[in-house]
Assembly symmetry: C2
Homo-oligomer: 343 residues x 2
């Protein structure tokens, strides 16, 4: 897979500039990509950007009281609505819809059973009403009886051919440039970056390394049960069963973090109420910690939605962020650029 965003190679590249920043030889605003360059060029000058730069400078300053050992610099990111777009429906929904439609002929019962009925009739509100659990039901049903390798292949084929309805581009084009810069900046500062998302773990793993520089083993997500068995050619396979195993959303996120990572993060970014407990868990770290939320405020370049949205509802987590002084990113004003293709 692509090493384009590899933390290791980036670290070698940026190490010197960041060490300089840590010791105040270079102002934090300009530490990063290379000598004197801004590590977050797509972030507009402002409170959000400054809060990130200040936090990273604090925890990497070996002389400071807030210094954090490199192995404890764990950063966790939600995916949908935090690292890439999630409108008009979660991208994994779009994938699932295409799969359901392709398999409908063999499943006549789907015509009358939710959430399949809504999928087959393009009833978007009906699909949304099923939420993350509905998505997992659809995934489990549409993927039961196939191997993990076969599933990976269908995901790759979909990403290679499917286009986003509004932008008429591959879905992987809709990643947020400012967040990619943030991921690179954190890795260059000795952080280990993880995805902790309600999305399906095997779906995400097909693009996270190429798109974000996050390898499969640093992706935490929802999952279905898999079963080991000998294949026809006496080669072992893992069969995906029609059973939900784990929902990595809400209170499930700290549980998933503990299970997969085994350390408490000191840096977390989300965008919805499903990230509330992950942010609370990060805020409970013994040392300094950074909690951030992406607030979708830009209907022109992306979308504007929060308290009343079926997708990525930001309500309780927003109130808690304001009350506790967490960073709330105003997409419209804090991001000079949203997508890599924006000019």
């Amino acid at each position: 897979m692509s090493r384009r965003f590899s933390g290791l190679s980036r670290r070698h590249f940026m190490g010197a500039a960041l060490a300089g920043a840590a010791f105040g030889l270079i102002p934090a605003e300009s530490a990063g990509a290379n000598d004197g360059d801004d590590p977050l060029p797509s972030w507009a000058k402002g409170e959000s950007k400054q809060a990130i730069l200040d936090f990273v400078a604090r925890v990497t300053d070996e002389e400071g009281k807030d210094f954090v050992d490199e192995e404890d610099r764990i950063a966790v990111f939600d995916n949908d609505g935090t690292l890439w777009a999630e409108q008009p429906i979660y991208f994994q929904f779009a994938f699932a819809i295409d799969r359901v439609k392709a398999m409908a002929a063999q499943h006549p019962d789907w015509q009358t059973t939710e959430p399949f009925k809504s999928v087959l009739t393009d009833n978007v509100p009906g699909i949304l009403a099923a939420g993350h659990r509905g998505l997992l039901e659809i995934l489990a049903a549409t993927h039961s009886g196939i191997t993990t390798a076969e599933f990976a292949k269908t995901v790759d084929e979909w990403f290679a051919t499917a286009k986003h309805p509004r932008f008429d581009r591959p879905y992987t084009d809709l990643v947020y440039q400012p967040m990619i810069e943030l991921l690179n900046y954190l890795r260059a500062s000795g952080f280990k970056t993880f995805i902790v998302s309600g999305g399906g773990i095997e779906f995400m793993r097909q693009f996270t390394e190429k798109s974000y520089g996050i390898p499969p083993e640093q992706v935490v997500g929802s999952s279905g049960v898999t079963k080991y068995q000998m294949g026809p050619d006496n080669k072992p396979v893992l069969i995906k069963e029609a059973k939900v195993e784990f929902i990595d959303d809400g209170p499930g996120k700290p549980v998933g973090i503990n299970r997969f990572i085994g350390r408490q993060p000191i840096f977390a970014f989300g965008n919805s109420d499903g990230d509330k407990e992950m942010l609370e868990w990060t805020a409970a770290a013994s040392g300094p910690s950074f909690m951030g939320l992406v607030h979708h405020t830009d209907a022109v370049r992306e979308w504007a939605y929060d308290r009343n949205s079926d997708i990525g509802r930001l309500d309780k987590a927003w109130d808690e962020a304001v009350a506790r002084g967490w960073t709330v990113v105003d997409m419209k004003n804090d991001w000079a650029k949203v997508f890599p293709f924006d000019t």
Copy 2:
């Protein structure tokens, strides 16, 4: 935590020598720790050692047909009996026994209920009969209702005070020196090393980084259910519930590898029938792969056991290894040194 065995620092140290080996400038036998040094000094000259050196040389030779990209160099290791000793009982059993005895007064029913009855009466065969599942039952029961942080503390305290009955040393002294050298050699050769063990994930994570240089996020193991909730001081906690979540043993190992790592390993080491499916899964990798078993043949320095042992039984996996030409390490003859404290 200790960076003593850190792959990164080791890589900087050994990089040059290994690059040399990869291009044949230095014979593989002598590539490693530093210019011309043997990377596996505790391994006796022989087939097992040579098989390891040859495999690593092959997959790291950028000019060769068997070259494997660094991000795909995934190595998985069983823990009990593979990286440290497991006699006279699994070390986690010893920890569990101490916990059960300490809590017995509050659980009168344990006097008559297995596996607790056997634990309280020091009935070792009775305990062993319960196997890994029995151990997990004991762990779940003895640790339910406490937080993950409280559990970590009890494990740390136990390692700091408990002594192995035969060697009268801390249990963490009973790691295998040849395997520590192998872990360091693999990391220095661009491999990412993981533990995939039937042992409890939160128990292992308290010592794997210090003892093996394997961080918590690269430990896959059996686990109990944890629940997120607000603590008394309004600080969130994860409560360990009395419910087994996942048994990372036998067919569970490929499942755990897929869930936590998301890539197929190309290098795997185990020592018992519980590792059979993990080795088969590794052997099914699309490219070259290495499968190894530690055969306990040294009753003097360690222990001698295989087909008829209740702990770490090596029977079916041994037959398959012989039939398929996997590497079977003869501890007595292949290891010049077993424990770090051996002279």
